[in-house]
Symmetry: C2
Subunit: 245 residues, 2 copies
């Protein structure tokens, strides 16, 4: 009886034992993706991506929904956000290379040191600080930290930053602690005279803390809001529909 349980749990471990699948999971934690879209972002072939998604689905970590000829994949179980954070914490605590990277991060003068995300939420709610979401529009729309403004890193150069100049404290976040966009985005903001700092946490950390996200566009940032209107919102539904054994 005991064996079965660990056998099952090993499927979760296996799902998270590949670089590609972990990257995919992190992307899927931001918003639902189509298979080919994901493949492109990952730099993998569609067939390979499809196979990886099959493993993730078999482990129940990703759910797929067919819409016409497109297959939309998403992370559904909220427990997975906790797992991703717990795993990252272990990796950062235990693997020499990552420990060093974390130590280097701590020296980054652009990094915001924050006691807790809840406290940050209060600062934002009290308008004592502006929160900038650097992720692509589709990810912002699928779910962002309350009060955040969308300034996609890719379009920062042409963005009108005037609305941001009235805050003394400016904090930017993106997909997570290892995401390059935040580093580059913060530098770009600084170069344009804005005192922005980088938040290590992303929406995954936010959800793992039990804090709520806000869905839907609200942009107001880049005037051209670009297509992507088909990016369906994250649906934190009651349960997974199928795991197709």
């Amino acid at each position: 009886m005991k064996r079965i349980h660990h056998d099952q749990m090993a499927r979760i471990g296996r799902a998270m034992s590949s670089r590609v699948r972990l990257r995919a999971l992190n992307l899927l934690a931001q918003r639902p993706w189509r298979v080919s879209e994901l493949a492109e972002e990952l730099g993998e072939s569609v067939a390979a991506t499809s196979a990886h998604l099959k493993v993730l689905r078999a482990a129940g970590m990703v759910v797929e929904e067919k819409r016409g000829r497109e297959h939309w994949c998403r992370v559904e179980a909220v427990e997975i956000f906790d797992l991703l954070v717990a795993m990252r914490r272990v990796a950062e605590a235990v693997l020499p290379e990552l420990r060093e990277a974390v130590r280097g991060d701590a020296d980054d003068p652009h990094l915001l040191r924050v006691a807790s995300l809840k406290e940050l939420a209060e600062d934002v709610a009290g308008d004592r600080m502006a929160l900038v979401d650097l992720r692509p529009t589709a990810e912002f729309d699928a779910g962002h930290i309350p009060g955040a403004r969308s300034y996609p890193a890719a379009k920062l150069a042409e963005a009108d930053l005037a609305p941001l100049r009235r805050w003394e404290r400016l904090v930017a976040y993106c997909r997570g602690p290892w995401c390059l966009m935040a580093r580059e985005g913060v530098q770009a903001l600084n170069a344009r005279g804005l005192p922005a700092r980088r938040l290590r946490a992303g929406v995954v950390d936010w959800l793992a803390e039990g804090l709520p996200l806000i869905r839907g566009e609200q942009g107001a940032a880049t005037e051209d809001k670009q297509g992507k209107e088909d990016a369906r919102p994250r649906d934190r539904g009651p349960s997974l529909k199928e795991t197709k054994k």
Copy 2:
């Protein structure tokens, strides 16, 4: 740069992608073990166990210390307890077989329904309830829930249960939610007229909640405390000593 991080994290996933390694991790979370001792408990050859431990060490999840000709292995990073719990929660939420097992568990009349472990800690501290640790003595000595009394499941039949008769509420726990000892132990206690219930949580859950364990024997339960005096205490030290690349 991003690739490296996910590559590293994948090592953690890989370490947890095998049934045997997961069982080993769960045992190592209870107390430090010697290699051959672990091999026997797992029902695997020493060589195979050694190989698995090598993987776990490479992932930084287990540390080894040589004492004479014996190699003692243990889980050192506290973050790992969180990870084990998070992973179990995902597995139970997402995998059909385990969801069913959990549902079945909920119907178990012997299962204690408890709001939070902290509340349980208060009940035990206030002497409104007795806590019984069913694990082997060595594991109890390496770390147990404060207030728990050691009644190893293996020796319940010969144990003197008289000291337990003065409580109306009796709760037993063991290695974790899937451990057979708790089920059998609770039945044995009930058979002998004690109104014991089973606690789903084990010491891993306890630690993941940030609650403290107590170390050292205090037995008083079975008069013969059996050898095992060499089982060294869990050492929640500052960091891992080496990962030997």
